[in-house]
């Protein structure tokens, strides 16, 4: 049977991808942020997951307003990425895992979720930046990835409680997949930031750390927030907490061990949190 061996949260802001491209990891601005990735990579190297289920949000590359999914799940053998318009370098495609993808889709439909099912999509920096951070130097090509995107652009967005439930259903699906496989679940994006409007630049480190605390111990508390609550507290893009909640949902009911945490703010316009959570057996 497949097993979820851990959950990782990480920002996916383009600035981090650019910093890697330019070799800025050890500069004063970025040092504290990048300090967390070597121990996480070490854990990944030891545990050697076969598959990563990656929650992200598309930022206007593939999930355009013409047909915008609330939840979309990749079922492709491979995912290209592409020019997004402002200079992040495309990387070689990530490898998919169609069999588990379809198993998850079957489970979701059986349990009254209504995903959009994607056999041919490009993934954006929301997916590629985390892959590059966790598996640098193209080593991400050694792991199979199932990208799952959540609408964080246009209201109405799924309620935090719905994203959590969605992740939970995906976790249940993984755990009942009959193949032996080690799966890691990635919640990307967040935390506090606002890119748009006169309020651009708001950050809320206290709320970010509160969210990281509750994500471990009591995610139901976070499910009580509406998306407007999150916007008030942490800015318009704080809604990206959706992916963290989906990741946490996938880990299951028990309280996981928080193996690692990092929080640095600001990186670009964002409060950047990273966590490694290990579910109890």
């Amino acid at each position: 049977m497949a097993k979820i061996i851990g959950g990782i949260t990480t920002s996916h802001i383009p600035a981090i991808g650019v910093a890697i491209d330019k070799g800025l990891e050890d500069t004063p601005y970025y040092r504290d942020l990048f300090a967390i990735y070597p121990p996480i990579r070490e854990w990944l190297n030891e545990e050697k997951p076969d598959i990563a289920v990656l929650f992200y949000n598309d930022h206007g590359l593939e999930m355009w307003l013409d047909k915008k999914p609330t939840f979309a799940i990749g079922c492709a053998p491979e995912y290209e990425n592409a020019d997004e318009g402002w200079g992040i370098k495309p990387i070689p495609p990530v490898t998919g895992e169609t069999e588990l993808s379809w198993h998850i889709v079957n489970h979701l439909i059986e349990n009254d979720f209504d995903p959009t099912v994607c056999q041919d999509i490009k993934v954006d920096h929301g997916a590629t930046v985390p892959m590059t951070l966790l598996w640098p130097n193209h080593t991400y090509q050694g792991i199979k990835v199932i990208p799952v995107s959540i609408n964080c652009e246009r209201h109405p967005m799924p309620k935090p409680s719905r994203s959590y439930a969605f992740g939970k259903a995906i976790g249940d699906a993984i755990r009942c997949w009959e193949k032996d496989a080690k799966v890691v679940v990635l919640g990307t994006g967040g935390l506090s930031h606002q890119l748009d409007g006169p309020r651009a630049g708001i950050l809320n480190g206290d709320f970010d750390n509160y969210c990281m605390d509750k994500l471990v111990s009591d995610p139901q508390e976070l499910c009580k927030f509406s998306n407007v609550d999150l916007i008030e507290k942490g800015g318009a893009q704080m809604v990206e907490l959706a992916m963290w909640l989906a990741m946490r949902g996938a880990l299951g009911e028990g309280i996981p061990e928080e193996r690692l945490r990092n929080y640095v703010s600001p990186i670009s316009n964002t409060g950047v949190g990273v966590q490694l959570l290990i579910p109890k057996d």
């Binding site: 600035a15 504290d32 300090a35 967390i36 930022h59 206007g60 590359l61 355009w64 307003l65 592409a82 020019d83 997004e84 318009g85 402002w86 200079g87 652009e153 246009r154 209201h155 109405p156 606002q194 890119l195 748009d196 409007g197 006169p198 309020r199 651009a200 630049g201 708001i202 950050l203 809320n204 480190g205 206290d206 750390n209 407007v228 916007i231 008030e232 318009a236 690692l260 945490r261 990092n262 929080y263 640095v264 703010s265 600001p266 670009s268 316009n269 409060g271």
Partner: protein, 122 residues
């Protein structure tokens, strides 16, 4: 009966259905900027490019003025507008400053004032 109006948040325009309807053509144009040829075509002749996507005069003028808050108000989505950054050579701090009425340096200082010192590591 449920009220679906989102609670207002000061300094923030919720990009909702009404906004997405108003801003569709503009966002569609910005979406096209994922393509380098499109960006070059826009730079070569912005007026013709805006006309091709049937932008209203209000949208055209706001873009000529690089008035980002006005573009948001008219129905722009920050995700597609971010692609203007590639065209005009802005980064997110430049954009943040433009929208919040600060110089880029002031905007950076504002960010730092809220964040630095709250690092937790390990």
């Amino acid at each position: 009966m449920t009220d679906y109006k989102m609670r207002p948040v000061e300094g923030t325009i919720h990009f909702d259905g009404a906004q997405a309807t108003k801003g569709f053509n503009f966002n569609k144009m910005c979406f096209s900027f994922n393509n380098e040829d499109a960006r070059q075509a826009f730079l070569a002749d912005p007026e013709a490019y805006m006309e091709k996507f049937k932008l209203s005069e209000e949208f055209k003028q706001a873009l000529r003025d690089k008035d980002l808050n006005k573009l948001l108000e008219l129905g722009g989505s920050i995700y597609y507008m971010a692609k203007l950054a590639g065209i005009f050579g802005w980064n997110m701090q430049v954009i943040g400053g433009m929208q919040s009425g600060r110089t880029t340096e002031e905007f950076q200082a504002y960010l730092d004032s809220q964040g630095r010192g709250k690092t937790t590591n390990g």
